[in-house]
Symmetry: C2
Subunit: 593 residues, 2 copies
């Protein structure tokens, strides 16, 4: 397995040059976030990722986790690593100082999260899910709940989970059956949840479950579902974990990847009922869950980038080391990085990772602005952008991550199929990202429905306009004329797709669902190109200045060109598939499959 | 895990309607191959696949194989299954009666092989490799060698292996170091081979290794390599396995998939030298190996289809059974097959499998004709076609199989990531197919080099012409006008790609290598469309006749249309990437990755 090296150079390029950190810095909350501070934080974080988390990635895969005496036991070294993670203050990086956080912009904290996920995806799922639980309590909990839970969770002393799925309720949460019966100030929760990430473990002193359950006499469907805090240990009057609550891990799943992340079946109330505390109002559970989920969706999109980058780094190392065959212009046998087809794969991986990173980080910067600006217009513009981009970051980045992780295996040849190499682990780990926190299909439905048809394409048009401005800017750079052609072709595909959808999406009841995936992939592809063009423009300008970063900018220009010429053409294929509509997709009777 | 059902109906459609079995039947060797016989053989084979091989697929994955007392021990039930396989005469289906075979055309035997591979890919690798070894001995061995080995191997009593790869010699076989020193009538072989499929086992009484090794004083590179027969047990004067030869399994690899197929590191000559018998002439080893390899490449391409079909069948079953959410026009909760995005995935899988099957089977029919016709023109035409299509069947079918197997996981949602479901096994098993018997990159280089540039595009033009004829035929069916547009666009992309390659492939030393993958995928995509159009033409004509197969033909029309409208557009994306050439692919210095 290759050592992981955090791509701090490219992260800083994206943060400083593409993701508008200057606008973020202009917000009162973040005025102290200087470039030096960003650099220092990323460098410090990269050491933890590289030296503590990454070395455990393989042992976690090999050992997985198991239930011993009714409690999940994680792989060797994970408890110590988690202790170091907490000790360094890393869990609280992006939370507000008022609740014990470090107050970093999500943009910078996001880069750190990319590192944790690259270094050890199974490990990083634990703080990732905890963040979702923190958000739910922070935004919807009572003052008392905040006082009891937030500081402990932000510090990482306690971890959190999202208990949504049940065997019969996956994408369709309306089918949740777990019951919550009021008893005094709390509720008694009974039922079973599945696929609970880090549902139980021994690395922190408490686990705070956020649980969807149905109250008696609640209406059918989504309106009958409420959200509850169900701690593993009930906090005592002093705030410390007290009595053991009636929630237990029943089993740990045997999964394709992320073996070290315990995915639990959780039983609530086997001994009469787990004590749960209502969050917000009854019947609002799904609304609150979406608070957690939208953040978690972006986080999973970032995971796609992380695992893709890890796979890329591993393949790059192998391509440099592995001697095989000869190449034009090189005497003797050569390392395979000299073979054009290996380069095609490496460039595809590199360009994909950098494009995804730029798309995701710019979206995250919009969160910082939307949540912290005083200007209503700016807020609503950035909110709309985040809403629109969330399914794209989640769906497109994780789908592209499959391709990148698969290329990582391919570059290794036969060795890629051997588990000892490590490439296969990244491939296996990556596979979950298009599934959890809403499959790609669910993201795509969100994109066509709530994010496009509902506002009549308004947020889409704002995005198209912004991309058009970049194309206009490009016109002043004759050296980039080839790039402009590719960008314009992508933007045109996006525009046509939008027009088609706005027209047919209302005429044909199956149209939106049938073409949603193609629209999502089309938009991801085009947004990737848009951001790579923005990167190329920065690089082209900076090349003239003498900053000692000539190689960085020259490389960025090559990578951007590769993306635009080799990957952007896919947008046309998605467009044509989309324009074919639902006819053949829906035509066959069930028995003819 | 879902039960496997051999797709006999579609296999027969392709064999009878698309792959020109009437031409095959017109050959003296195959005049007795009536439609009834084909049906009977496929039905009989399907029982073995469904009832004996498929039920072992999961246990093989779970148990894998291990070395016990210096010999590989395979998973429970595999020895019995192999005995039944031999008892039924299945190993010899496509071999000539003169060497003990059943004399079936490869076209029909190929359909059987598709079944074995779908039912249990790890198992089916054993007869697949044996076939390659049989081919090498049949085409290049001495009469004595044929007498000693062929009948035993054709019957399946003995199995065969291909010992090519060494740690430092993968795609680059010129680097082989295993030594062969002449001693009397035989040679002493010493060295180590890796990645040897079914390199050792206890399911048959002998294992016949075909081994590449270097004789002393042989020239460097490929010309110094010879091919040897190295049996595990030396055949005695009575032909029965006698003395144990000095070749042993050293270890069994821990792989991502195909766990039940023992992938061995083989040691030759640890006790002084394994006895080997030269095949053909010294220095011709690689040429002979290509005899085995070309067949094996087609067989791996077929494996892609097999595992894709298995994944499709599994996903189809899940989509019919899993209740989740609601759908327009259906009261209450529905099975997920009613959701448009699930249908998009299922249709993509179905259309891909059927297109791949048609492309592969028509290629295999050309083998039958080329090898058995008396007409020199026909022979050379079909030979050229097989040569051209081999890298496409191998490369494109296995690449597309990755997508199909991944969609299979995706349709299962969270359950797809759980190993118990079985979808993940198909995904893991499928992953090897783009790697062994020459990676996709190696296939693509074969396609652009030996198969295109070497003959100045002649075989390519013959293919284009044949596709053009189908387009012309299509013009008489106004109902298929939309399909014609898509086909023409694909053919046009193929023509432009060819022109670009013939022009730039000679001007730029890196061009051919940089664009090879895109050409291969483009051609696979277009050939798939071409065959689906041929299928649609048959269906359109037959719909008018009253044959009781109306549903079959209507379904084929829908599936063909889906392929042409949703998948064919990818050809344009490949074309544009190809036309971008090598510039950005080759631009970065190694350290800038």
């Amino acid at each position: 397995m290759t050592t992981y090296v955090a791509p701090v150079r490219d992260m800083r390029f994206v943060i400083e040059e593409l993701a508008d950190i200057s606008a973020v810095r202009g917000l009162a909350a973040f005025e102290e976030i200087t470039p030096d501070l960003v650099e220092a934080v990323l460098e410090e974080g990269s050491r933890l990722a590289q030296e503590v988390l990454a070395p455990l990635n393989k042992i976690g895969d090999l050992q997985g986790s198991k239930i011993v005496d009714g409690q999940v036991q994680v792989a060797d070294g994970f408890s110590d690593a988690y202790a170091k993670f907490v000790e360094g203050g890393w869990p609280g990086m992006k939370f507000k100082p008022e609740i014990g956080g470090q107050g970093l912009p999500s943009l910078v904290a996001g880069a750190l999260e990319e590192m944790w996920q690259s270094a050890n995806m199974a490990f990083a799922l634990c703080p990732m899910l905890t963040q979702g639980a923190i958000d739910a309590i922070e935004f919807h909990g009572t003052e008392e709940q905040k006082a009891v839970y937030l500081e402990k969770m932000v510090s990482g002393e306690w971890t959190g989970t999202m208990n949504l799925t049940e065997a019969q309720a996956g994408s369709d949460l309306a089918a949740v059956r777990t019951r919550a019966v009021r008893e005094g100030d709390s509720y008694l929760i009974t039922g079973q949840k599945v696929f609970i990430t880090w549902g139980d473990h021994d690395v922190a002193e408490n686990v705070v479950h956020l649980v969807l359950a149905r109250t008696p006499e609640a209406p059918e469907g989504v309106k009958g579902i409420s959200l509850f805090i169900v701690p593993k240990y009930l906090p005592g009057p002093d705030g410390a974990p007290g009595e053991r609550n009636d929630v237990h891990p029943i089993s740990v799943e045997h999964k394709l990847g992320i073996h070290a992340s315990p995915t639990c079946v959780m039983g609530f109330g086997d001994k009469g009922g787990a004590i749960g505390y209502l969050v917000g109002d009854e019947g609002e559970g799904l609304v609150y869950m979406f608070t957690m989920m939208n953040r978690a969706r972006l986080a999973v999109g970032m995971q796609g980038i992380s695992i893709a980058d890890r796979a890329y780094q591993q393949a790059r190392q192998y391509a440099r080391d592995r001697i095989q065959g000869s190449a034009a212009g090189h005497p003797g046998r050569v390392s395979i990085i000299h073979h054009p087809d290996v380069r095609r794969m490496l460039m595809t991986m590199k360009a994909s990772v950098e494009a995804m990173r730029a798309v995701a980080y710019t979206t995250v910067a919009s969160i910082d602005i939307a949540e912290n600006t005083d200007d209503a217009d700016t807020r609503s513009r950035h909110h709309a952008r985040v809403d629109l981009m969330t399914p794209i970051v989640k769906g497109w980045c994780t789908e592209l991550a499959q391709e990148v992780a698969s290329l990582g295996v391919q570059i290794h040849g036969g060795m890629g199929y051997m588990e000892e190499t490590g490439a296969a682990q990244h491939f296996r780990d990556a596979r979950v990202t298009t599934i959890y926190e809403g499959t790609t299909g669910i993201q795509a439905l969100d994109l066509v429905g709530r994010k496009t048809l509902r506002d009549g394409g308004r947020a889409q048009r704002a995005l198209l306009e912004e991309m058009g401005e970049v194309s206009t800017e490009l016109a002043s750079f004759p050296d980039l004329a080839d790039v402009k052609l590719c960008l314009d072709s992508g933007i045109d595909a996006h525009r046509r797709a939008l027009e088609w959808l706005l027209q047919s999406g209302t005429e044909d009841v199956h149209a939106a669902g049938s073409v949603a995936f193609d629209l999502l992939m089309l938009m991801g592809t085009v947004c990737g190109g848009w951001q790579m063009v923005r990167a190329a423009l920065v690089a082209q300008r900076r090349l003239g200045e003498d900053q000692g970063y000539g190689e960085l900018y020259r490389t960025k220009l090559v990578t951007a060109r590769f993306y635009l010429k080799h990957l952007m053409p896919r947008a046309q294929a998605y467009l044509q598939a989309l324009q074919a509509g639902s006819e053949e997709t829906m035509a066959l009777p069930e028995e003819q499959f």
